[in-house]
Homo-oligomer: 118 residues x 4
């Protein structure tokens, strides 16, 4: 996790550009692809309860499947951020600043309610 977002984005875009897939990579297609990969990721957790998932994650073969699906989501996210002219790290920090206002520590602590129900 010592890689910067910039470095990993560059590696992913090089992989993509070597295959000349750029013209398929419109924001709309990438957002659709990201949703599909999110579904494949979720499939690994469906039908299992939390204890079964914790147990399964100790198995390297299962954890590798999870890693592959996490990677697919991350790849789409990096390419979509690039296509949208958005820096992911800045975006996360800006969103956390916003969320800190919507979910002040004192009100949100230990509480899964949405901000408009707090």
């Amino acid at each position: 996790m010592a890689t910067t977002f910039d470095e990993l984005a560059r590696e992913v875009l090089r992989f993509r550009d070597e295959r000349e897939w750029g013209r398929f990579h419109t924001p709309k297609n990438l957002a659709m692809g990201l949703g599909i990969e999110a579904g494949e990721l979720a499939e690994l957790f469906l039908w299992k309860d939390d204890a079964e998932i914790a147990e399964a994650l100790r198995d390297p073969a299962y954890r590798e499947k999870v890693a592959h699906e996490l990677a697919d989501v991350q790849v789409y996210l990096l390419v979509l951020a690039h296509a949208s002219g958005i820096a992911l790290d800045d975006a996360v920090r800006a969103k956390m600043t916003l969320n800190a206002q919507k979910y002040p520590v004192e009100k949100a602590r230990g509480n899964a309610k949405k901000y408009d129900e707090l």
Copy 2:
């Protein structure tokens, strides 16, 4: 994009832990949340064609909405990777190595077919 995955994960987890949300953050809930955020991201592109999206992305207010939704997906991804004991940067590289075998440059160039149809 000069931030490392480790640094951003630490910031996100600190935000989370200050609010004591960790006990809700099972891999299953996080994967479900990630899919929901992917849907909110996609909503920004629905009903628009590629030219309209390119145009809309020049508007800072629209681009900020996209940034917020990209951020939400990235946050869930960082927390889910952490909960699963997986390093996102390593996972992306391992997946690209695998994809390089499934999609060799000569066969995949300019082609959006799935590897099993190449």
Copy 3:
């Protein structure tokens, strides 16, 4: 639930056509919209465990929210099936016939494994 799929599809398409939304309703957009609505539906269950959801479903206001999101998914499904020239009822029966082969009662009983792991 005494309505036929045909009747409900006709009502939905009439609503759509009165608003001249047909030209936006390509299969691709409809599939994307369906995924977005599936996310909004899932959001009603996120952060709640099964007992909390069972409890919440006794509240008419919450059940109405669930009903609205189920309806949105059903609407997209009816319109997408129409746009694809597919009869939903036939499609479900054909898929169940297929699933009956993949998941024979004796092997699948009480078992959430995927057919290729049975």
Copy 4:
């Protein structure tokens, strides 16, 4: 499409109950499953533009794939509606009544904007 929602729900639930899958079918799992199936459906349209999809839908093998994925979404929807005590046909009509207020014909005609932007 002459089947009623009730009839198809009964067939799907019989299939399910013969396999004793009911205990896995909590609303939360079903909503997650529905999202996953929505992703598999979307995958059939990803990377294709509208003209390519229209062309592909003329191929019976492709249309069958679409039908299978539509069916999977419909199955989850029927079972989730049942688990939530909601009649899908009533829910669709109630939602259309609501949408008719949010999207009056005169304002919404030919317009893909969200109601709060109309």
